[in-house]
Every structure is written in C-alpha cells, then in structure tokens.
C-alpha cells in the first residue's frame, strides 16, 4: 500500500472512531432498531469511503456524514423515509436510573415519535448532533430562519405536552 493510501486510510479510520457512535444514535432514532441502525451506519461508512476524496474540509466531516446517512436511510426505506418504529424498550434500560426521569424519557420519546418529521428532525440534529441552525439548514436544505421556526415549534409542542402531562393526575401510590 502506498504512503498516500495509508494516510488516506488512517484519516478515514479516525473518522470512523470519532463519529460512529453519533451516527449510530442518529440512525437509531431514525430506525428505532439496533440492527437497522447498524446497517444504516455501515452503508453510510461504505458510501463515505467511496467518496472520501471529495471531503474538502475535515471540519465538515460530521455534517457530511449525517447527510450521507440521511440519504442512505431514505434509500433503504424508499417509501418510508424517516418513518420510525416504536423504540425497543430494552435499549432505554440504563439511560436513566430514576423512575420519574425514565417515565418522562419514555413520554418524551413517544412525543417526538408522534411529532411531524418537519419539526422533530431539526430538534434531533441540534440536541443529539450539536449542529447550529446554519448547519441544520445546510443538511435539510432549508433556510436558517426556517430552522429557527421549526425548532421553536418543536419545543413549543413538547412544552405544551409536558404542561398537559404534569397537570394530569397520576396513579402513584394507588393500590
């Protein structure tokens, strides 16, 4: 293997180390299943490897990979783009240890799953991936102003549902 190719391979390997976890979590959010998420991540890295030479700036690697992953997921589920299934319950085990937090985490996952993708996807890209409004705008191919509006509406929906949930009586303590 030539030195140049070795260097190329090393850089890609570093990319895999750095972003495989993030890509997996994003893919898991999209697919709701461990195996599907791993498949999508695998396809993403294969596609990324084929066009690694086109990545001009390393700083753009994260959004570049996320964009590839979105395309791979759309291709994989051509007629069910971004449609998610119910979360595998066992995968939330250990995420939170407190009962209240777990209950709210389950509730939140349910609320996001039932939110329009228009609003949930920018939210996940921001919270999970740490993208700015401008980066999300590039990934989703919309304006930064549209991203701001969607993030506002997404959080507004969740806040309203949170308020509604908190005002409901619970069965705690009842036999």
């Amino acid at each position: 293997m030539s030195e140049k190719k070795k260097e190329f391979s090393k850089e890609f390997s570093e990319l895999v180390t750095q972003y495989s976890g993030l890509l997996y979590r994003y893919a898991f959010w999209l697919t709701g299943k461990n195996e599907s998420a791993q498949d999508v991540v695998q396809e993403t890295f294969l596609r990324a490897w084929q066009s690694f030479g086109s990545l001009k700036k390393k700083e753009s690697a994260k959004s570049w990979l996320i964009t590839i992953l979105r395309h791979e997921n759309a291709r994989r589920f051509a007629k069910k783009q971004l449609q998610r299934v119910d979360l595998e319950v066992e995968n939330l085990e250990g995420v939170n240890t407190e009962e209240d937090n777990r209950a709210e985490a389950f509730w939140l996952r349910h609320a996001i799953d039932h939110m329009s993708d228009t609003y949930s996807e920018p939210l996940v890209l921001q919270v999970l991936c740490g993208f700015t409004c401008n980066e999300i705008a590039d990934i989703l191919n919309i304006t930064p102003e549209a991203v701001m509006t969607r993030l506002y509406r997404a959080r507004k929906q969740l806040r309203e549902q949170l308020s509604s949930k908190r005002s409901q009586p619970t069965n705690r303590g009842m036999s």
Partner: protein, 69 residues
C-alpha cells in the same frame, strides 16, 4: 426584546442567552418559566436520544470499510 422574540431565539439556540435576553428574563416571569421548561425538555431529550452504542461498533465499521478497499 419581547416575549415572542425571546422564545423564538431561545428555542433555536437554547445554549446562548445574550445580554438583551438576560435583561428580558430579569423582568419576565413567563419567559423564566419558559427557560426552565425548555431546560427540562432538553435534559430529557439528551438522555432519551443518547442510547448505548454497541462496544465493537467502530471496529466493525473499520473492518467492513477496509474489506471493500
């Protein structure tokens, strides 16, 4: 800054509260509650989305990528 602008700005960039926004918060109970609620939501969102990653994921991905060279 009014409440509408504060909420729009804070919802889109919740980690950044500029001076103008801080001044608004000092005098607005409604937006203070809004910030607290969003903080709760963001904390839960983070823990909900950060599912455990398979231990061998990165190594598996490297092997698969190398195999296609």
């Amino acid at each position: 800054m009014n409440c509408e602008k504060f909420m729009l700005t804070h919802s889109s960039e919740p980690l950044e509260i500029n001076e103008e926004a801080k001044q608004h918060l000092k005098n607005c109970h409604h937006c203070t509650q809004f910030v607290a609620d969003l903080q709760t939501i963001n904390n839960h969102l983070t823990s909900t989305l950060e599912v455990p990653v398979p231990d061998d994921l990165a190594e598996t991905m490297k092997k698969v990528s190398n195999g296609r060279e």
